[in-house]
Symmetry: C2
Subunit: 336 residues, 2 copies
Amino acid sequence: MNWYLQSGKDSDIVTSTRIRFRRNLQGFKFNLKNNTEIEKLKNKIKENTYAIGYGLKYIELKDIDDITKMSLVEKNLVSAEYILKNELGAILINDEENICITVNDEDHLNIQVFNSGLDLENTLNFAIEIDKKIEETFGYSTNKKYGYLTSLPTNCGTGLKASVKVHLPALEKTKNIQKVFYTINNFGVNIDGAYGENTKEVGDIYQISNKRTLGVSENDIIENLKIVTEKLIEQERNARKFLAKDSIDLEDIVYRSYGILKYSRKISFEEAHKMISNVKLGTDLGLLPELTDSKVQKLILYTKPANMQKSLGEQYEILERDIKRAEVIKNIMNEK
Amino acid sequence: MNWYLQSGKDSDIVTSTRIRFRRNLQGFKFNLKNNTEIEKLKNKIKENTYAIGYGLKYIELKDIDDITKMSLVEKNLVSAEYILKNELGAILINDEENICITVNDEDHLNIQVFNSGLDLENTLNFAIEIDKKIEETFGYSTNKKYGYLTSLPTNCGTGLKASVKVHLPALEKTKNIQKVFYTINNFGVNIDGAYGENTKEVGDIYQISNKRTLGVSENDIIENLKIVTEKLIEQERNARKFLAKDSIDLEDIVYRSYGILKYSRKISFEEAHKMISNVKLGTDLGLLPELTDSKVQKLILYTKPANMQKSLGEQYEILERDIKRAEVIKNIMNEK
């Protein structure tokens, strides 16, 4: 089962952890625009993919159909900007999809490692292991004073972006979320909507990531992010306890959402994700034993347009999308 | 099973038929206000109740508790005005509750006979039979020119009010209902919200009744009401066919309503009746085979405050009412 359908530590609140390293290879200019040079870079990476190991496969973006491209965006494995606009790009990805490396984005390589739940240390260690292997293979652009060099100066140093996705429905429902965000904003982290950075918040899922990459160690970055995340977990758990006091109101929201997901014959993405957020809160509180974590993760992922189409394995009109979404939801909920 | 939990002819649209005769006894003044005279009238009726037959029992309003009083109002067997304000009143009622005669309302007797579905002829014939029996027992105030005399001149003549309750969700959803009402208004009928006359419309149920009582025969009155009702049935069926064309939208409304009724943990009267109206439309269209007509009738009746309390057989706070309503609904839906 793919990592994004599994549950991990604290996954009642933290849905996933990501570690990303921006790296640039020796012997190539930063931010390549020249086609010949881009092809040269890609060939070098392609030839060495097997040597890197980890079951990684080299795939050119031009060989990926649009639906698959969008399904990768929806899984948060790549940014929409990169995959849709970069015709000469390529990715290295393994079957489990917990490693996804993009080629020739802002930087030559964007090494990403994912895990379910809150697991910053292990994910970082695994990412460092892969990073070392790639460094041995190609050699990186580094500088004694700054560390790893990147296309944009703001990313250099560690080149590390560590992030977690958190599900905060109770802070949202108790209207405490802005206050909490205001507070943690002082701790050197960014807060973004779930679907990439700077997008609107859907289904009460937010991404928390480090701001600084330069002048701090990898361990300090993830330690700080961990402290902030644990603070958030504590706040969200308190809010859930508060809501559970007047439990009939909470149960009503959870079960109604369950009923709508189960019985609607057409449902928009926005409504589905609002209902799924409520239902996820219900499973996390033990109110819906019939709904496993894996089913909830499937509901989150397979209701997104491209993954929906891939899971249905058929073409359909945009007008039918809300109808198909209701079908997909019913199928997932009725799975044995 | 009581008549109001059964289904009858055209009961996909007509939920019930009622025939009412206003009658006044010989030897008593109209519109009695004097307590001694009222007691005299009641004693005469009480003494003769067994002789009238039909399993009727004589019950003084002062011997009925408030919840039972309100439950009779919710079943539309008596008006709230009569039962709550008339301390010296009494009713004759049978176990099936398809006959309910009020004593000393505007008129000495208000003879009412009920049936499920559209059944004007049989209900009228049965009411006439009872009426004759009572006339033999007491003798009525009549006049050769006007017929039966009543407290208010507008009710004299036949003293007959024939009415049907119709469920018109499709005309409502297609926004044709005002147009249809405007048209049938010319055919000598009144249109009222479901819960007594001049109340707001809840759950898309309306009452259609004759306007005139004087100068027309009983048969003409019900014949005209029948024609209007059949016209309404035709219009509602056409609207349902129209909605069924875009069946996914209709199914979505029906099944979502089913899901909300089944899973909500608290629900207001207004919301419940909106959802029940949609679900009733679903059963009438064969979309919800698991929900019998009888269950729908129970949902309509036992979600009303007083019948809810009677069906639960326990006291509860007004604040708990929406929670209890959700419980009652779940119990009815889960009945084998």
